[in-house]
Every structure is written in C-alpha cells, then in structure tokens.
Symmetry: D2
Subunit: 396 residues, 4 copies
C-alpha cells in the first residue's frame, strides 16, 4: 500500500489500443462530418470498428460484453476515446447510454437487465435519461422536481414535462425520474421508471437547437401525459430515485470530464502542430513568448484536470461518497477544458475560427459542459457548503 499512478496493465493496453483506433479510424470520420455523426449507419459502422479493435464497451461488465473497468480504469481509456468527438459513440461510452449502463448494472432486476441492459451494452439500442425539467422544474435544484408518478390500478401514471433529454430521438427506452412523494420545493421522494419508446402517454417533442450538436440523438423536449406503466417498470425501489440519481450522476460527471479532457488534449495538439510550422514576424509561432504561455497554460490545465479526475475516481472506487472530489473535478475540468480549447483556437488565428480545423466545433461542444451536469456555480455552492460544514465539525 503506497501511492501509485501506474495503471493496471490491462488498462494501459486498452488505452493504447483505444488511442490507436481513434487516430486510425475515428478521426477521419469525424473530420468528414464536422464532428457530428450524421446517421445510424455511421454509428453502427463506428461501433463495428470499435468491436473489431477490441475496445468496445470498456465500462460494461464482461457479462454484458465489456471490459469491466472500474473508475480509475475508465479514466485513461475514456480520455483516449474522447480525443475525437466521435470516439465515445464508437466505443458505446457516450452520454447518456454510458451512464445508464452503469446505473442499470447496479440497480436493475435480472429481467430488466436482460430486456434493457443487454441490448444497450451491445449497442443494439439506445436510451435516454429523463430527469431535467424546464424552469421552474428540476434543473440545478433537484428538489424542484415537478413531474409526478401516481399509483393507479396495476401500475403508475406519469405526468410532466422534461427538456434537454439527450439522445431521446431514437431511444428505445427512457429512464424517467418522477416525484412519488411530496411537492416541488421539498425533497420528498422520487422514483425511476423504465418507459418504452412508443408508449402512447409519452411524446418526444422538438429537438432543442443548441450551441453543441455532437451528442447523438440530440437534446429534446419530452412530455408525459397520462403515461401508464406497470410495476415492473419501477427501477430499484419506490421513493429511492434521488439516491439512484447519485449512483448515476457522480460517475457520469467524471466520465464527462474524461471525455472532454480528451478533446482538450486534441485541441492542444492541433494548436502545437500549427504553432510549430507557422512563421510570423520572422519567428516560428511556437518560439514567441505569448504563444508559449498559452501552450504552457494548456498543459498545466490538462495535467491538473487529469489529476483531479483520477483522484475522484479513486474515491468512488474505494466505495466512498466522493461528493466533494467529484464537484471539485467537474468544476475545474469543465472550465479548464473551455480555456484550453479557447487558447488553442486563439493560437491558430483565423484558421482557428474556420471550419478547416475543428476548434470552433470543439468550442461549441465544450461550452455547455460548464452548465450541464450542474452549473459551475451550483458545484461551487456545494463545495463551499461541504468545506464550511467540515470546518464546523472539526471546530466542535
């Protein structure tokens, strides 16, 4: 027992294979399509490639065809996958399916696993996670949850409106968070339900146009109106939804960080390559002090984010709550990745804002991460509360 940063050998090898697959196979597709997967065919083709390369579903347990990585193992592999906007979809570790696989493994029944988890882990179907609601519903503040599930004969009836439901277009099923106790504003109890596509009480509405466009299946509005499901649709136990949400959200925040860290590294590599060949004012751009400062700040941000992510992963792998570490890692990484992409674009000048490199695309894709999964301000509030609380306990 002592500090060790060496990844397990099978992790190191998988990360290496993933890096190779992304460089040799994925980036070409990404550049052709400006970072946005255009069709189900392309999705399937990418996933077939990942399977052939032996890098598919690194997070799923072997039982479901995956590599069974813990969080510390995911960190380097997901970062390599995230080196391209299309890498995560290729490996079947894009949001929201990746987080749903993680959660279903932990709380679904055997029947639910067979019906939902198995085909999802295999990439045969897609899913979505319907929690976020338009104001004044559940957003930064989960206690504002307004969608309700009420007991009816033989099951439940769900009513409410969701938005920013990623991947809802084409999802075979949704995991829906609904209030089963209390009223909006106090916590009460929430329950998760599995709702199949085609349920007549569920309407998948418009694609919300957003700054980011690369998450496959879009961000959608979804409405539930007298949506009926049976008791077998309950995921885990009734009224335990907030607890399960934490099971999903902590790891999901970190896997987001890992993937976006990959994009930050890619942006830095593009900028460094450019700065190494561009001549300006009689010097190589890479030899000018202001450019060097940007390259160095990128590197510092990348190292710091990687360290914070790994530490938070380790806390979760130890079975600890890790709430502070996850918030610290998420807040820092979301802002660091943004800075890195911004500086990299600046280093490339006019080329950087053109579509001839993907930096403008990256900038659009990473910006929302400072809001999605909890805005930086909410996480800062949470961090401060934990720190102040900890001090209070120590003081007593």
């Amino acid at each position: 027992m002592a500090v060790d940063f060496t990844p397990a050998p099978e992790v190191a090898e998988l990360a290496e294979r993933t890096a190779r697959f992304v460089r040799d196979t994925v980036i070409g597709v990404e550049e052709t399509h400006d970072g946005v997967v255009p069709s189900e065919d392309v999705r399937r083709e990418l996933q077939a490639g990942a399977r052939a390369a032996g890098v598919f579903a690194p997070h799923a347990s072997p039982e479901f065809g995956g590599h069974g990585l813990d969080m510390c193992g995911r960190a380097p592999v997901f970062e390599e996958a995230g080196y391209s906007l299309l890498g995560p979809l290729a490996l079947n570790i894009a949001a929201p399916d990746e987080g749903n696989v993680h959660m279903l493994e932990q709380i679904a029944t055997e029947e639910q696993k067979a019906r939902y988890l198995a085909p999802l882990a295999a990439g045969d179907i897609r899913s979505c996670f319907a929690m976020t609601e338009p104001a004044p519903g559940a957003g930064s503040d989960p206690d504002a949850l307004a969608t309700t599930a009420t007991r009816v004969d033989g099951g439940w009836r769900i009513d409410g409106r969701k938005w920013f439901i990623t991947g809802a277009d084409g999802a075979a099923f949704s995991i829906v968070m609904a209030r089963t106790t209390g009223v909006p504003g106090d916590r009460g109890g929430a329950t998760m339900f599995l709702v199949d596509a085609g349920n007549p009480g569920m309407t998948v509405g418009r694609h919300i146009p957003t700054l980011d466009e690369s998450l496959y299946g879009g961000h959608l509005e979804v409405e539930f109106s007298d949506c009926r499901v049976g008791d077998d649709a309950v995921l885990g136990e009734v009224d335990q939804g907030y607890r399960y949400a934490q099971v999903r959200l902590g790891p999901a925040r970190l896997t987001h960080c890992m993937r976006w860290l990959g994009i930050a590294r890619r942006a830095q590599d593009i900028a460094v390559a450019r700065a190494s060949e561009r001549e300006v004012f009689g010097s190589r751009l890479a030899d000018l002090g202001m450019a060097q400062a940007m390259v160095a700040d990128n590197e510092i941000d990348i190292h710091a984010a990687r360290g914070l992510i790994l530490r938070a992963c380790w806390e979760l792998d130890q079975g600890r709550n890790g709430g502070l570490e996850v918030s610290v890692a998420k807040t820092f990484t979301a802002e660091a990745v943004w800075r890195v992409v911004d500086r990299s674009l600046q280093l490339c000048g006019s080329l950087g804002v053109s579509g001839d490199v993907l930096l403008g695309r990256f900038l659009r894709e990473v910006r929302p991460f400072r809001i999605y999964d909890g805005p930086s301000e909410t996480h800062r509030w949470s961090i401060a509360r934990r720190v102040v609380g900890r001090a209070g306990k120590a003081g007593r």
Copy 2:
C-alpha cells in the same frame, strides 16, 4: 475647454432614434432569422426601414446622404445599432462597407467617389476589402504581404491569393491591397486598387465556413491571377497603401468595438431579465451572490470598454495618431465583450445554450473579434513596444 462627456445634441437624438428603431423593427427580424440575414430582400427591407426612421448611414457625409458623424459621435450611435446583430447592416454601417465608405471619403478621387462611394453609401451596392492573405502571407504581420501588383501597359497586373475577405460574395467592387515595392518580409510599398466584380482576373472562391456567420456576404477566398486594371483603379497614391490602411484600420477597429459593445449590452439585458424572474433554491436568481457577481462584472466590463472606445475616438477626432489608444481599446473590448456574453450565457443556464435565446449565437459571433482586426497578442506586442519606446524617449 474642460472635460465633458455630454454628446452633441444631434448625436444624442440620433442614438435615441437608433435605439428605438432597433428595438421596434430590427430585433424581430433578427430573432426570426437566428441573427443571420438570409437574403438580399431582407437586407434591402431593413435598410429601407432605417431610412424611414432617419437613422441610415450615420457615418457618411451629408453629401453622400449621411449624418456626417465624427468618431465620438459614432460611438453611441453604433453601439445602439449593434444592440442587434442586424442593426449595423440596417444602418449600412456593417463591416466592411462602413470602413470602405470612411476611407473612400478621405482618399478617393471625385470620379472614384461618384462611381464607388455614392452607391455604396446609399446601400445600392456592397463592397469588400481584400487585404488578408493565408499563411505565410499578410495576416497579423502586414509586412508579409505577398500579393503583387506590377506595372503593365496601360495599368497594372495583380496576382495573389486572399482569404477571409468579408462580404466578397455579392460585392460590386473590391479594394485590393497589393505589394508594389519590395518583397514579403520587409515593408516596402503597397498600393490599393479598386477592382470591379466580374474582372476576369479575379476569382471569388469558396465561402470559408466559420464559427461566426452573421457578417453579410460571408468570408471568402479570392484569387487574383493576371488581373488587369487601369491606372484609374489606383486608390490614392502608389506605394502609400500601408498609410491608407492605417486611415481605415484605426477607425474600423473602433467601430467594430462600438458594435460589439452593443451586443454585450444586449447579452447583459437578456441575462438580467432572466435572473430577475427565475427562481432557484428558493431565491430569485438575481438575488444570489454568484449571479450578482456576474452581473456586476458585466457592467464593469461594459463601462470600461465604453470609456476606452470614447477616449480613442476622441484622439482620432483630434487628428492624432491614436495608435496606442486604439490598440488598448480594441484589445480590452474584444476580450470584455467575450466575457460579458459568456457570463450572460452562464447566467441563463441550459436556456442560454439553447437557440431559444440568442446568446449562443452571440458567443459564436464575438469570439473571432479577438482575432480579426489584429489578434489580442499582436496588439499587446504593439502596446508594449509603444510603452517601452515612450519610456526610452523619456529616459534620454
């Protein structure tokens, strides 16, 4: 003679009228079209509206149908126009036409004014300014100018490649900067030429896809190959192009700042309106400290940028070089506007990244301004050189 911030009465009135026109007429069109003018019809309709409102062409001299504002007069009027992405086009003060009108008034011959300036100031035609070249040509470093103009029988022959030529698609004429003395890397001499659309030696190439999309007429590649023009195409004097470029660029940088300051104010207004009505964690968002800090920082940035712009305008209006003041104002404003839009978007949360408000659009539009018209790094280098040089002189 004493410090006075009161605008001249006719300026105050014109700014007020412009504000009203933008709010009542322009913003509706902008929101319908996501901030991007879709067609020549819409452009003409907007300009007709501005004419009817008595706010058209505030920068052009009365001789050419304008209001003849000096730089200090333009500052508040252009800021009001810039409150919408479409305001500047409506008033005919969008780049690059606005800067071309400014320069043509100062250096064109009477014949050139009649032929080019008059219809341009009237909005009957559009123009472009072809200076920037792809690497290793003239970008941040104007001395790298690679396009050449060589004397031939009865005129000149222009050869070279330009890119990021804003508004080139549909422009009736181009003002082309070409080297007439020396070689790339030393200053030598440059000359400006008026080249009509349709000149067989000029090829308007592809639209460069860019992060920003609202500048009408796009950013294009333009190639000159054995492009022949007569002596009457010379704008001003031969070999004086760098001097004229300064005539154009100083004011053009400031008018860019004015317009983008308008967008910053708009972003702040959108965010403040949202924060005033949104409830979160049991409080109004506008009453939460972290939100208040963002609102205050926006306000500080807006005030500071406005002060720097006005000061630089005044230097130019006094007939001084103003190079330091312009670089200071441009660098600060480009970064301040970016921060303001970014914070405003953050304040709006998921709504902010959605197309339901224009903040994501604004973010895309303002980002390149830290690169266009001289990257912040080039301006910082220029500022430092002036400061160090000034100190050296004072020391002696």
Copy 3:
C-alpha cells in the same frame, strides 16, 4: 457641448507642476524612508515644499488657500501626486484629511469652518473620520452602526468602539459617526459629531498593525465612553449622517482611486525601465513576449481605470448621484492597481521582492484598497442591485 477630454488649462498646468514637484522633491524622501513618513518634521517639510511649488491643497477652495478643483480637475492632479506614496501628504490631499476638507466645505457652519476647516486645509492640524467599527458593528454594512449618541443636558453623550480610524494618532479632531435613531441592523438615523482631541471621553487606543503602513497617523482603535460634546459639535443636521457620509464617501473613493492610479503608473515605469535594460536568455527582457504581455496588460488596466475614474468624476461634477459609476470605478481600479503592481513586481524578479525597489512596499500598500472604502464584493452587490433595479424599471 460635445465630448471633450482636454483638461482645463489651469488643471493641466497644475498637474504638470505636481508631476515635477513629485519627481524632483518627493521621490527622494520616499525612497529614503521606504515610503513611510517617519515624523512630523518630514511631513511639514514636504508640505512646505508643495507650498513653494504652488501645488498645495489643490482640492480646497481658494478661500481656504487651495486651488478649488472640481472632481474632473482633481483626477489628473491627484494621479500625479499619487505617483509617490508621499505625494498626497505633501499636497495635503492624503486620506482622511482630504475627504474631511471636502465634507466640511459642504456642511460645516461658519464657526466650524473657522475652527476646523481653515487650519486643516492649511496643514496646521490633522483630523480623522471615525465611522468604521469592529464586527459586528458598521463595516461593509453601514446599517450595523452600534456607536450611539444620546441627548444629555447641554449636548450629547457618545458611547461606542471604532477601529481602523486612519490618522487618529495626532489628529486634532475627529468626525464621529454615531447612531441617534433606531438600533443596529436597521438604518435609523445617524449624526456626525466633531470631537476635539483631548476630550476625556475619547480614548485613542492601539495602532492596529496592518499590511499597509504608509497612511500617516496609522490605523487606530478609538473608544468613546461617556464622551460629552455640546450642540455646536453637531456637523450638519441631526439624523442626516448617512446622507453626509455619501457626500464624503463618493468623492473619497474616487480620490483614493486617483492616488493609487498614480502608484500603478509608477510601478509600470519601474518595471519598464528594468525590462529595458535587463538581458536574459540573450534578449532584452522588454523584447520577450511574456514580459510584453505584462507591460501591455498594465497599460490597458491603467487606461481603463483612468477612463472610469474620470467618468465618475464628471457625474459627480454634474450634480448627479453617480453611485453606479463610483462603484464601478472603485471596484475596477482597486483590482487593476493590484494587478499592475503585482505584474510589475514579477517583471523585476528577485529585485522586485527586494527593498532595493519599492514594489514590495507598493504591493503592501495597495492590497487593502480592495477592502477599504467598501470591499469589492460589497460594491459588486451594489452594482448588481442597481442594474437589476434599472432593468425592472425599464421593463415596467
């Protein structure tokens, strides 16, 4: 009526004379004493020099021996005085006397003016302003005022504790803010009293050791216990103290800004001189990009602060409230000056942290300005409230 940045001729001339006096006379004394006036003799000698140079008391009205400058006139003159830590004391425009002169001119009776203002403006005596209290009393939040004044036979009785009372050691009189209506926590009414040194009910306590050390007369604790004063000790009207505090505080915040802006310019000059002669890695430091970025950022901060200060001055000179403009200028300037001194010190490397240049001294002196006169956070809160309130009014 039109925008004009030209100072009135007599202001320009006074600023020029002040600059010469500071460079020729004050800086030598400052460097000898590490920026801290060591004795009453040195204070008197400096003030005699200022009188001889014709730059003494630029803010006082001619009736009291001064130059009668308005706020816009003070801006350039105070900035020149502030170029040395000792300049303001030399000109008799250091805190708190400068603000007290300003307030007494506006609200004192003729008798009070003769007795307090005349010798204060002449530099014969010094004063202090006793408002701030230790927690939980009046600090950021003036409504927490806990010191009370109660009516007694033939006058008033003052009780309470003050701290951070600048200049209290050696002050001939204090202006004391005490609650005359209401209780701590609600505004109620406050009254200002003139209390002579030697009043047996007033105890001037310990010098609070502080990071800054250059404000003459120190920062002290002062206690009032059964402190009796007559009715003629009331400054202005009873219960109008908060209003008078605004009369003093708005201008005082700006004159602080002016003086510290002078120090920022000085720091920049020291750093630029150093960077111009220091060779490192085979280049002149001033030619290295990262150094140039610091020099440029300093220059931008200085220009922006100067613009904000002048604008707020002009608002006050117009007789407007100017609360927003003052808070914007104070917040930005306090932070900008800090950044400028910090960067300048960094540019000088080890020399910068040594006492061989005054940059470490400057760093210590300017740090508290982000707290004194209202912490940045309180001003940001105030700015946000004004902006949100303004939007609410516009919306209705």
Copy 4:
C-alpha cells in the same frame, strides 16, 4: 500494480503526528512572533520539540537520524509541517538545509557526509546554497553563471558575487556553484564547492530587505574574492555542477510546493472559521454566494495543487526526469497558493489586513515563490519547449 492514493501507513502516521505537533506546539510560537523565528534559542527549542514528538528530519535517511521518506512520502508530511510558517524549521526541513541534506546524501563523499551532512541533518549547524547571482549573472538563466573557480596550487580559487543566498547569516558552510569551464552565456561546466564559514576569501554581506521575512537566516549578498579551497572541497565531480543542481532543484521545488500548500490550507481554514461566525447584511458570511465562491475556488486550487505535486513526486520516485511534471506543479502551486491566501485575506476584510490574523504575513511570504526557484514565466517557457519538442518527435 494499479492506481492508489493511499499513503504508506508509516507516512500517514507521521503526517498525523506532524499535524498534531504543529497545532499543539508550533502555532503558538508562530503567532507570538508574527511568523518570524527571532533567535537561535527559539529555533533550537522548536527542533527539540519536534524531536520529542518523533517528527524530526522526516527526509533524512535513518543513518542520519531521519525517517527516510521518499518524495511521495514527503508530500503529506511536509504539507502538515507547512501548515505553520515555523513548522518546516522545527522539523529541520526548511529551505535551504532540507535541499542540501537531500543533495549531500546523493553526491557527497563519506568524509564530506561525516563533516557536513551529519551535523546538518541533526540540526546542529545550518548551511546555505550559493548559486543565484545579481544581474547579469545566473538567475532565471543558469547559463549566465559568472562566478568562477580556477585551479590553483593545491586546490581552487573562487571569485564572484552571489545574492539572495538564503540562510547565509549563521550558516556553517556554503555549497557554492562556480563556473569551471566556458564563459557566461554558454553552458560550459560548473562545479560545486563546500566552503566553510570563516574562509577569509568569503564575505557574507548585507541582508537584502525583502517582502518575505520568514526564511531563517535571511537572504544575503555573499562575495568571493580570491577564496581558496582544497580539492576535498569539490562536491561530486568537476564540471558536473549543472547536473547536481538538477538533483537538488527538482525535489527542492516540490518540497517548497508542499510547504506552501500547507500555508494555503491554513489560510483557507482561517477564512472559513471567520466566515462561519461573521454576520453581515443579516446573513452569515459563509452563506453569501460571493464568499462561497471564494471558499470553493480555494478548495479547488488546493486539491489541484496537491494532485500535481503528488504526481511529480511519483515521477521522481520512479527515477524519471520529471522535468515537465515539476515545472507544471511548481508553476501552478506558486500561483494557486497566492490566490488562496489572497482570497482568504479578502474574506476576512479589514481583519485580514490587520496583524490580528497572519494572513497579511502569509501574503508577503508566498508572493516571492512565484519568482524564487524559477519565475513562472521561465517555467512556462520550459513547459512549452518540452510540449513543442514532444509534438515534434511524435510528428516525425
């Protein structure tokens, strides 16, 4: 082999004991003396306390009375020691002795170890490291080394001037870096010499007054003039000085980081305690959003710095060069610690700038760390060169 953040049990226990010793014994002494050890008696008393607590010399090998910690082991222990400005001296791990012990263990001969290392590790004597020179000598740029050592009969003659030689006042010996090959400006070869106090060719000059004051023994000017030493004074091999400097500097940078991280944590604890009890505007300061943002940013900075330090330690423990990781950790930590102390002071308001808490002292002590051990700009330059070089290799 897998990622593990658990410290070895003996490290955890030693860190725990150190924390207890610092809180129970050291902080009282620190607060009494405003963070500056006033005398040799106090130094000896503190070290006796550390010996009694079983926490003395954690870095020295057991052979020399220490705990033999590797770099990963030092990280948590030194951080705990650094929680007080006096902790490192108490444990005998303050600069420069700590780094000298580290280096002597690796390169000294047995005779040198007996004579110099043994009493140094025991705290019986102190030492200094004489490398830095005033401009234009060796500072940021080691190749500018101007002090020379020339072969003479029976040994060497050293000539040159050093400054910022920490701990020189009272040091029993100095390790002196002198040029033995080449001329200032090219690398050539340097050699390290052990010079005893009292050598007539060495003059320990003035204490340089500095912003920081807590490093025991001060920062001094030292002059060598015909300073004669024998061959046994050579440390390691002739001309290998630059290599040995790296042996010393990499670890020394990290141990600086560890110690200052302790101060950052202390500052945060002081601020959080204050914010938890201070009421302002009717709320607890700790419940106000802007205060929470500062607390959270402190926490993020502390976590990120800790992660970067540990990672760089691990690289060194693996026997790798670790140059990139050390520069990243040093640059980030020096700036993060500065930000944390600055925010903590701001959170405490006027109290924060007073001597009633040590935050102003901490601010003075940590500022130079952005310059000492290589300014941030030099490290950024070094980081960028490594990143660009790495990219170049990967590209080929």
